[in-house]
Symmetry: C2
Amino acid sequence: MRKTQMKLGLSMRYLGYHDAAWRHPEVPPGGATDFKYFLNSARIAERGKFDMVFFADGIGIRADDNPPGSLARSNRNAELEPLTLLSALAASTSHIGLVSTASTTYNEPFHIARKFASLDNISGGRAGWNIVTSWSEQEAWNFSRDAHLDYDTRYDRAKEFVDVVTGLWDSWEADAFVHDKASGQFYDPAKLHVLNHRGKHFSVRGPLNAPPTPQGRPILVQAGAAEQGQEIAAANADVVYAAQVDLAGAKAYYAGLKARMAKYGRAPDLLKVMPAVTTIVGRTRAEAQAKFDQLQELIDPLVGLASLFNAFGDLSGHPLDGPVPEPVNAKVRSIAYNMWNLAQRENLTIRQFYQKKSAGSGGLLLKGTAEDVADVMEQWIDEEAADGFNLTPTHLPHGAEDFVELVVPELRRRGRFRSEYESTTLRGNLGLPEYVNRHTAGRQRTALASD
Amino acid sequence: MRKTQMKLGLSMRYLGYHDAAWRHPEVPPGGATDFKYFLNSARIAERGKFDMVFFADGIGIRADDNPPGSLARSNRNAELEPLTLLSALAASTSHIGLVSTASTTYNEPFHIARKFASLDNISGGRAGWNIVTSWSEQEAWNFSRDAHLDYDTRYDRAKEFVDVVTGLWDSWEADAFVHDKASGQFYDPAKLHVLNHRGKHFSVRGPLNAPPTPQGRPILVQAGAAEQGQEIAAANADVVYAAQVDLAGAKAYYAGLKARMAKYGRAPDLLKVMPAVTTIVGRTRAEAQAKFDQLQELIDPLVGLASLFNAFGDLSGHPLDGPVPEPVNAKVRSIAYNMWNLAQRENLTIRQFYQKKSAGSGGLLLKGTAEDVADVMEQWIDEEAADGFNLTPTHLPHGAEDFVELVVPELRRRGRFRSEYESTTLRGNLGLPEYVNRHTAGRQRTALASD
């Protein structure tokens, strides 16, 4: 059995992952648009020696007000844009990794390559890009499209997008800039590489007008369990942000993903699988339960019913404390029936059902003392279900604060988490090997072969 | 005659605007990719109470190595991306405005609206967007196009782009977010406005997923003297970044631009015209001249000849200290002949000619004591050739330092520049009125009419 330390990330979006986060008495409801709010949480995570902060993102907001009145009762609308926010955080933190989602569907690879390279330089080697495809019509409508791209086109585009971005990041070798004031030579032209990419979705000449970065290149993160996404992860990713709810499923996912890496010539250790976990921690189990109950009671019924709308239609005419009716208006019938079966199995009322959905990020939910939480996390590491976790707190900054004050010391006592950063780069802290520019590597291989 | 204070901006790109900036003994040659280098210069400008720092930008680098060997001797290639850089600067400065170029040709309006809104929030109301169109094939090639868009299409797209961005910025009225924890109401739906833009170049539904900003909306800057650009400026801009080299031309440009504003119902004072100025300042004229000579002698002949290539072809076979030959290979013959006529008139050698071109940003060049420089700046303000200036220093940080230490005190003695910031927002420091969301304004007009 391994005795491995885990990696930890703090996911931040809006005010936390609980649907009622903004109504918590101690949460500043305008926090999602306030730089200082995120700076405070990032510093808490850095104090706890987390590997990274992580921002999910979307480039559109929910358009349908179903049930009527629910939209204006949700706090998931206005927020700061993550790349500007992470750049500002870079200037005010020193060690923590800075990871953001950017969609491959409604962006251009040149912009994305350039911005993350810039963030990696500004932060001294702490940038990471979470590769996603956009899936919602709300996003398509903001980018001159009437409908979103179909699944295959999105992933085909995403794969090529990643190839272009990583190709652009290798434009300049690490020692390309000689800066010889006496001779007037600024760079060595043999170490500048023009990409000349011509593909199905993109034609990008390059080179990138950004310098080599402290990490060699930014860290690549992939989120989501879709088949094509897993291939992109196996081929490229340094970190996978997973959403697994039980040990057996997480182990299967972990094993499957790592097994896919062989065909890309990659060792399993090069990819860190980090499932999402929402923790509600107290000094006693009763205290944790009380914290949880307080939030659950604050869920607005309309917001709760909105989270069920796609699968069950408008349930506002049904008694909240009565049974969950069979799904008849589901957009995706299989998901709707899976949800309904769960509700039947656990004999949940409508209120209990939406409370369950609204409590976290859709991943693992752990509630109890620091020991309770550490027990499960340790087990997931030991049984190869995870290499670490992305904390998706119910509400910020408290969810992060509780974890850093209560759970982190317990993980350290068990030898499961660092007391000091090993490196100033995210790559170094993740324990990943140095990245060598493909052209430098090619030259080294050629030199070796001719020896 | 007016006795008006001037506005001041500091333009920063690469290591300054002199072609030999990177070879100056005191300039760190890797500065353009180093956040701390720009932070230092931004803080110098903030100490001098400048209105703003300003970043030009391009999304591609020169592709042709003409004359051969010149490309790798220029420092204009790798740099930090300005929006990430300005966001990092926002966290480390307190009053200075943060303005960046972003192209309307190879961007999407939703991204641009969102990023500048985010920067405005992060900085507490100090963001500005410099609206440009891209013009080079090098940029087109990085965005899946074989050739750049023609002039009319670029400006037509730019106009619609600005309409979409400003429309998105008005998505949420200033008091839209009620944050009523007790009732569960997060925002007032009457104060959220869906754009539903459908135009020739873009379809953008909105609303923007970014909050109202401290300035109401970011400051709009327009650069460039092209006919269509001036219309965009007259209709929308708060600041124009001009490049005028003589008083008569600057006065005509100033008057013409302000006259265009009437048809958009805008008062002339709502637009600040700020020509570029490169200053070389010494405690004596001899000291200034010595500083200038030092840089001029550092211009690499190949870099100098590269700056003449488009108009004159490869001059590397001609003696540098001989006359400038008639342009025969010019891409744009009228510009080439204008240049040639100037060289003939001033009887310039090839070396003297490229030294003239390489010395600054192409705008006004002032050399001498603080009094000399202040005299000209004052005259331009008094004769309505400018409302202020964008400093384009030969090299950073020294060009900015000299100006702040020598010229700024002289301008203050003359009552021409502030000693303290009037406001914490760029809009406030520029002396512009508060921006009122169009929907709020519409409601106020309706209420007034029904009184």
